[in-house]
Amino acid sequence: MEILFLPKPNLSAFLEALNAHGRLVVPAAAGEGQYRYVEYSELSGPEEVALEFLRTTLPLKKYFFPAEEVLSTFSEEEGYQEAPLEEEPPILFGPHPCELHGLRVTDRFFQDGYGDYHYERRRQGAKVIGLGCMPDEKCFCQSTGTDHVEDVYDLFLWEIEAGFVTMVRTPVGHALVHLERDLFEHVQRSQIVEHQKKLEVRRSSFNRVLPISDLPQLLRFEEDSPAWKELGDACFACGACSMVCPTCTCFTVFDRTELSGESGERVRRWDSCLFRDFTRIAGDELMRPDRAARVSNRYYHKEQGFVEQFGMPSCTGCGRCVDACTAGIDITQVFAKVRGSCER
């Protein structure tokens, strides 16, 4: 670990240096209050990079687990062949701590057991430059313990008045700094004090709370809570929450065949456990036909199943599902209701 300081006027030059070095991905505004990760080369310059943003519409998973991806090609003569990957791994600039926790969850999930070749080949070699943030009314990462991150990143930039306190965590981060080492200065004690004061303000700025430590146990008692039925009635099962969730990883696999019928490609595409057909098996039987059961299944997987499997819940408190829900369902209210049904 090394701690440096990047003066604000030098950020543009650093972004240019990163872009010259590789495939730089940055946050940028995309309409009213919306942000998305884009390739830096699509922007007209460093001034279009968003620094004051919170959640992007889609999380970073799209770079390692694209919404749609060709797994293999097939033909009668050749059988199945692995689809080539031509993209170079990205340099990700701008993810906040919750986003990096999300990345850690998908890393652990896809690397566990058999390992997911297609995720890993995109993930391998990706470089990560995190960015500090100040919460809005939808953030609850303080509750989920994901408001700070001590791994996953190579560099992390915490903004103060005159620039960025820069945490250099890995040799990869060190090498990135050395692309233009002269842009960075030694960090002053006064700058660290200013940063710490800012973190104190950040700590007291959260107003959305989700107590999680007893959730796995609570959920065991409350499988029959009337709250699930209520939610099932409210939810449109549109799947938007799954698409925007940094830790939702379900996908469907299908074959797309050329018109000749002799060749084609096997594709995977994001899927959602909220969809009615998600569990349909041959013979047209549905394993989870009831919408309330599908809704509760999703929350159980986040807050209980993941704890059983990996020792931690998978919700990162980013607030994207609150933003995206067409029915106005709010995950913190969901668990408050379930908790409430225990006290009735």
Partner: protein
Amino acid sequence: MLPRTAWLVGKEELLPDHMLFRFRLKPGEDGPDGSNHRPGQFVMLSVIGVGEVPISICHAPVSQAIPPEERELRLTIRRVGRVTRALFDLTPGARVGLRGPYGRGFPLEDLHGNSLVMMAGGLGMAPLRSLLEYAHQHRERFGEDVHLLYGTRAVGQLLYPEALKQINQSGGVQVHLACDRVPAREESLSGLPLIQGNLLDLLAELPLEQTRTRFAICGPPVMYGYVTDRLRDMKVFPEHVYVSLERRMECAIGKCGHCAIGYRYTCTDGPVFSVWEARGLREAWQPPSGKDDPYLGGWR
């Protein structure tokens, strides 16, 4: 997730819409060749241009002394969906994709040394046949008694009558059949004892030493409800009972999410689960009506 090259080398009709398929893996390919699986495991079978489906393996692993180019993988398949319909239309020589074997099969270490009661309902006989053959071939590894209890709706729906007869005649493994409807003149099928009734009727006839017996059950979910309920009444422990679950699977490596029951992935944590493990997984099966204590999980 890349399917390996294999060829269909033979097919044989067992019942209407039920066929036994034999496949040969391209030598040198890293995939299921009929010798490298555990009883209870499954494979992913691709029909080129149509799609991929999970199918359980219906035989014990063949000896690895057999040369790779002569090994065969056998799958019993019911024509029920888009991919299996296309598969039934293939002729020997057709190229297919195979990958696996996948999943956790029956825990042989726990079965060894104990008596074994296998219970199959309907097409559940297909996956269970892998364990049946294994127990028959390695009878000395098991305890005092090894039984197969097999039930279907009608006599005409019983799978593998000839193979079951041979196993029964060679001793060591006793086969008992039950059908919902048995024509009056039939009291045995190919010399196998046959009753009109169900698996619980067969079970009631068996002298069992509960703590030294293991149970392996394969069939439709509704059967798991009433069989596990009866076993509980018989004071059998849930960790001594194994069931094989069927779910939609698209990746078989614990990632796509379709087969998840709670936090358990049927493809990697199963398809064989002990009832202790399945306990609390509400969607695993329905308890018999009137016996659904929600806090007893799947063992009600």
